[in-house]
C-alpha cells in the first residue's frame, strides 16, 4: 500500500507543478484594457534597440515593448517556425530586404498599404519599393545599407600604389584592384583584398550584377533560377581566384574578415558603414581611406543595399500598439534616427537620413572625409536591391552554400549548375 501512496503523492506533486507553470506563463499574456505589452524580435544585440524602445515607451507609457534577440544565422528559420505557427507571442519583427516577397507569399506579414502615401513622403523611394509586393505595402523601411572599399593607406604607400579615388564616377575595377592587391602583398601586406560577408548573397550579388549576369532570379514571378550565365560564371571565377591565389584567406569566415583589416593585415577590404566600429575599436587604429564599391572592367557599377524593415505579424493580438511602434521606428524622423543610433547604418526616413549624411564625415575625420557625399552618390547611382522573389529564403541558402564551395576551391561552372538545379527544384515546389 505504501508504494501506491508514494506514487500518488508524486503524481499530485507533478501535476501541481505543471498547473503552476501553466498559470505563470498564462498570466503573462495580459489583456483587457490595462497596459499593453508587445514583443519585437530581431537579429541584433538588445543594446541596439534599447534606445528606440526607451524613447517609444516614454512617449507611449501604456505600451511596453520587450525585445527578443534571435541569432542572425537562424533568424529566417525561426521566423518561419514562429510566425508560421501563428505565435501570438510575436507582434513586431524585423524583415530583411529581399525577404518581403517570400514572407508576404507565406502570409507572414500584415498588409500595411494604409501607410503607403505617408511612407512615400517620409522615406527614401528605393527603400519603400523594396517593401512592395503584389501591389501592396508589407513592411515599413527602417534602415538601408551600402558598401565601401576601405583601403589601408600605409600598406598601399609601402607598395607605391596610388590611393583609389573617392569619386563614384572614378571607381576602381575589380581587375585593377586584384593586381594592386597582389603588389601590396608582395610589398608586405599579409592579405590583398577581403570581403566582409564572404558567403552571403547580400554582398556577392553585386559581382554578377556588375558583369551583367543579373540577380539570379528571372521570369515574371522571379522564380526562374539563372546563375549559370556568363556574367555569373566569370564573376564567380574571379571571386574564387582571390582565395585560390591567396589574395584572401580561406579559413576566415563572414564577420571575421573585418578583424583582419582592422588589425592592419589587409590592403583592401569591402564592407559596410558598420565596419567602421571594429576598425575604430581595434587595439591600434589603422590609417585607412574610403572609396566607392568597385565594378568589373566594362561592366556596370553595382553595390549591395537594403537592410532591416519593420513588420507586424498577422498573429499579433496587439495590432494597434504594434502599429504605433512601427510608425515611431519608421515614419517618425526622431524615432527612425534613434533606431540607428547604436549601429553605424543609414536610417531610411528622409530627415533622419540627411542628418546621418551630415554626420558621416565627422565619424573619424580625416579618414572619413567625403564619406557623406560618397554615401549619397552611391545610394543614388549604383545601389542594386535584392530581388523581391517569393523564393528568396531558398535562394539565400542555396547560393550561400555555392559561394562557400567556390571560395573553397570548387569548380565554378559545376557548382553554379548544381546550385541552379537545386534552386529551381525548390522554387518549382512553391
Amino acid at each position: 500500500m505504501r508504494n501506491h501512496r508514494t506514487l500518488a503523492a508524486m503524481g499530485i506533486a507533478l501535476s501541481a507543478t505543471v498547473m503552476l507553470a501553466a498559470c505563470t506563463s498564462g498570466s503573462e499574456a495580459g489583456g483587457g484594457d490595462g497596459p499593453v505589452e508587445i514583443t519585437m524580435i530581431g537579429a541584433d544585440l538588445p543594446e541596439v534597440f534599447a534606445p528606440l524602445i526607451d524613447a517609444f515607451e516614454e512617449e507611449n507609457p501604456e505600451i511596453t515593448v520587450t525585445y527578443q534577440n534571435v541569432p542572425f544565422d537562424q533568424y529566417n528559420n525561426v521566423l518561419q517556425q514562429r510566425i508560421g505557427g501563428k505565435d501570438a507571442g510575436v507582434d513586431v519583427y524585423l524583415a530583411d530586404a529581399g525577404a518581403i516577397g517570400s514572407l508576404a507569399t507565406k502570409g507572414f506579414l500584415t498588409d500595411l498599404s494604409e501607410y503607403r502615401d505617408q511612407v512615400e513622403e517620409s522615406s527614401l523611394p528605393a527603400t519603400v519599393e523594396g517593401n512592395m509586393f503584389d501591389g501592396k505595402l508589407w513592411a515599413l523601411p527602417m534602415w538601408t545599407s551600402l558598401q565601401y572599399l576601405y583601403y589601408n593607406k600605409s600598406l598601399l604607400d609601402a607598395a607605391g600604389i596610388a590611393h583609389p579615388s573617392i569619386e563614384s564616377d572614378d571607381r576602381a575595377t575589380w581587375e585593377d584592384l586584384t593586381t594592386d592587391a597582389k603588389s601590396a602583398q608582395a610589398a608586405g601586406a599579409e592579405w590583398g583584398l577581403l570581403f566582409d560577408q564572404t558567403d552571403r548573397y547580400y554582398q556577392l550579388q553585386a559581382l554578377p550584377e556588375s558583369k551583367g549576369g543579373g540577380s539570379g532570379a528571372t521570369g515574371d514571378d522571379l522564380l526562374t533560377a539563372d546563375v549559370t550565365n556568363d556574367g555569373w560564371i566569370e564573376s564567380m571565377k574571379w571571386y574564387g581566384s582571390l582565395f585560390e591565389d591567396g589574395v584572401a584567406p580561406r579559413g576566415v569566415e563572414t564577420d571575421q574578415m573585418v578583424q583582419l583589416f582592422a588589425g592592419g593585415k589587409a590592403a583592401y577590404f569591402v564592407g559596410g558603414p558598420w565596419s567602421l566600429t571594429p576598425i575604430l575599436e581595434a587595439d591600434s587604429k589603422v590609417d585607412y581611406g574610403i572609396a566607392p564599391n568597385p565594378m568589373f572592367d566594362g561592366g556596370t557599377p553595382a553595390m549591395p543595399t537594403g537592410s532591416w524593415n519593420i513588420a507586424i505579424s498577422p498573429a499579433t493580438d496587439a495590432l494597434e500598439a504594434s502599429k504605433k511602434f512601427i510608425e515611431f521606428a519608421s515614419l517618425d524622423a526622431e524615432g527612425n534616427a534613434i533606431s540607428a543610433q547604436e549601429v553605424i547604418i543609414p536610417p531610411t526616413n528622409v530627415d533622419s537620413f540627411s542628418d546621418y549624411i551630415t554626420k558621416m564625415d565627422g565619424q573619424d575625420a580625416p579618414n572619413t572625409d567625403g564619406m557623406g557625399e560618397l554615401t549619397l552618390s552611391e545610394l543614388e547611382d549604383s545601389a542594386v536591391n535584392r530581388p523581391n522573389t517569393p523564393g528568396f529564403t531558398q535562394m539565400q541558402d542555396v547560393l550561400g552554400r555555392a559561394f562557400s564551395d567556390i571560395r573553397n576551391g570548387g569548380d565554378v561552372e559545376e557548382t553554379l549548375q548544381k546550385a541552379q538545379d537545386e534552386l529551381q527544384g525548390l522554387w518549382d515546389r512553391l
Binding site: V70, Q81, G89
Partner: protein, 284 residues
C-alpha cells in the same frame, strides 16, 4: 579490441602507445586551449594571429579581462544560471523518471511490456530535431513557451537513458528482488533500496546523457525560450554575434565558461562514467 595496456607489452611499445595517447590528447586539447587564449584577447588580436601558425596562436600578446567583464553586464550571466537550473532539474527529475521506467521494463511483468520497450527504443532512434518544430507549436498552444517547464519537459524522458538503465537492471540478479519480496518489501522499496544503490555507474552514465542533451540544447530553446529572462547559455552565446557587430573575444570567453561546467562534472565523475560505459550491456 585490444586495450592500450594489452598492446604495451615491451618498453618500445609502451613508449609508442604513450606517445600516441599524448598526441591524441593534445589534438583534443588544442582547440580548447585556443578558445581559452582567445578569451583573454581582443577580437582583432584573435584573428590577426591566425596566420602564419606560431606560438602566438596560443599565447595572448596582451592579456585583457574585458571579455569576461562584458559577459557579466549582459544577459549571459542570467543565461548560465538558467542553463544550470534547467539542466539540474532535468537530470534529477529525468533520472527518477527514466530509472522508474527502466525498472518497470526490466523487473515487472505486465502485458505489453515488450511493446512499450520497443516504443522506447524507437523513440531514441528518431532524432529530436525531426519532431522539434511540431512539438514547439504544441507547446506554444499549451502556453509553455518562455517557461522553465517548457524548456525542461522534452529532456526528462530519454529513450537512450531508459535503455541503458534497463540493460543494467537486467544484469542485477533477480534473486535479490525475490528475497526482498519474501521479506515483505514492496516494489518501490526494491527499486529505491536495492536497485538504485547498486546502479550508481549506470545512473551516472544516464545522468550524463540527460545532462548533455539539455546543456548543449540549441534548437529547442531557440524555438521555445527566447524571452530575455528565460534565455539559455548556448542561445546567449550565439546572440553575442549581432548582424553588424560580432564580439569575438566575448564569444570565446562565453564558450569557455559553457565548456567549464561539463568539464568539471566529467573530472568529478570520470571513474563512474568510464565504468558505466564499460559495464553497460556487458556485465555478467
Amino acid at each position: 579490441m585490444a586495450l592500450p595496456n594489452q598492446l604495451a607489452t615491451t618498453p618500445a611499445r609502451k613508449f609508442a602507445v604513450t606517445l600516441l595517447a599524448w598526441l591524441a590528447a593534445i589534438g583534443f586539447a588544442l582547440p580548447l586551449l585556443w578558445m581559452l587564449a582567445g578569451s583573454f584577447r581582443t577580437g582583432t588580436d584573435i584573428f590577426t594571429n591566425l596566420y602564419p601558425l606560431s606560438w602566438k596562436l596560443f599565447i595572448p600578446t596582451e592579456v585583457t579581462f574585458d571579455n569576461y567583464a562584458t559577459l557579466m553586464v549582459g544577459e549571459f550571466g542570467l543565461s548560465v544560471a538558467n542553463s544550470i537550473f534547467v539542466t539540474a532539474v532535468t537530470v534529477i527529475v529525468g533520472l527518477l523518471i527514466c530509472a522508474m521506467a527502466a525498472f518497470a521494463l526490466s523487473i515487472l511483468r505486465f502485458r505489453g511490456a515488450a511493446f512499450v520497450f520497443a516504443l522506447v527504443v524507437l523513440s531514441f532512434l528518431v532524432p529530436f530535431d525531426a519532431i522539434a518544430v511540431p512539438l514547439a507549436n504544441l507547446f506554444r498552444t499549451w502556453n509553455l513557451d518562455n517557461s522553465y517547464l517548457g524548456l525542461i519537459l522534452p529532456g526528462l524522458a530519454n529513450g537512450f537513458a531508459i535503455f541503458v538503465l534497463r540493460q543494467f537492471f537486467m544484469n542485477i540478479p533477480l534473486e535479490l528482488a525475490e528475497a526482498a519480496r519474501v521479506d515483505g518489501l514492496g516494489w518501490w522499496g526494491i527499486f529505491w533500496r536495492i536497485y538504485l544503490p547498486l546502479s550508481k555507474p549506470a545512473l551516472i552514465g544516464a545522468g550524463f546523457t540527460l545532462f548533455l542533451f539539455q546543456w548543449g540544447a540549441y534548437l529547442w530553446p531557440l524555438m521555445i525560450g527566447t524571452e530575455p529572462s528565460k534565455v539559455l547559455g548556448p542561445i546567449a552565446l550565439a546572440n553575442l554575434a549581432g548582424q553588424f557587430e560580432v564580439d569575438f573575444g566575448a564569444i570565446f570567453a562565453g564558450a569557455f565558461l559553457l565548456t567549464l561546467v561539463p568539464l568539471i562534472l566529467l573530472l568529478i565523475f570520470q571513474r563512474q562514467f568510464t565504468e558505466s560505459l564499460a559495464s553497460t550491456g556487458t556485465k555478467g
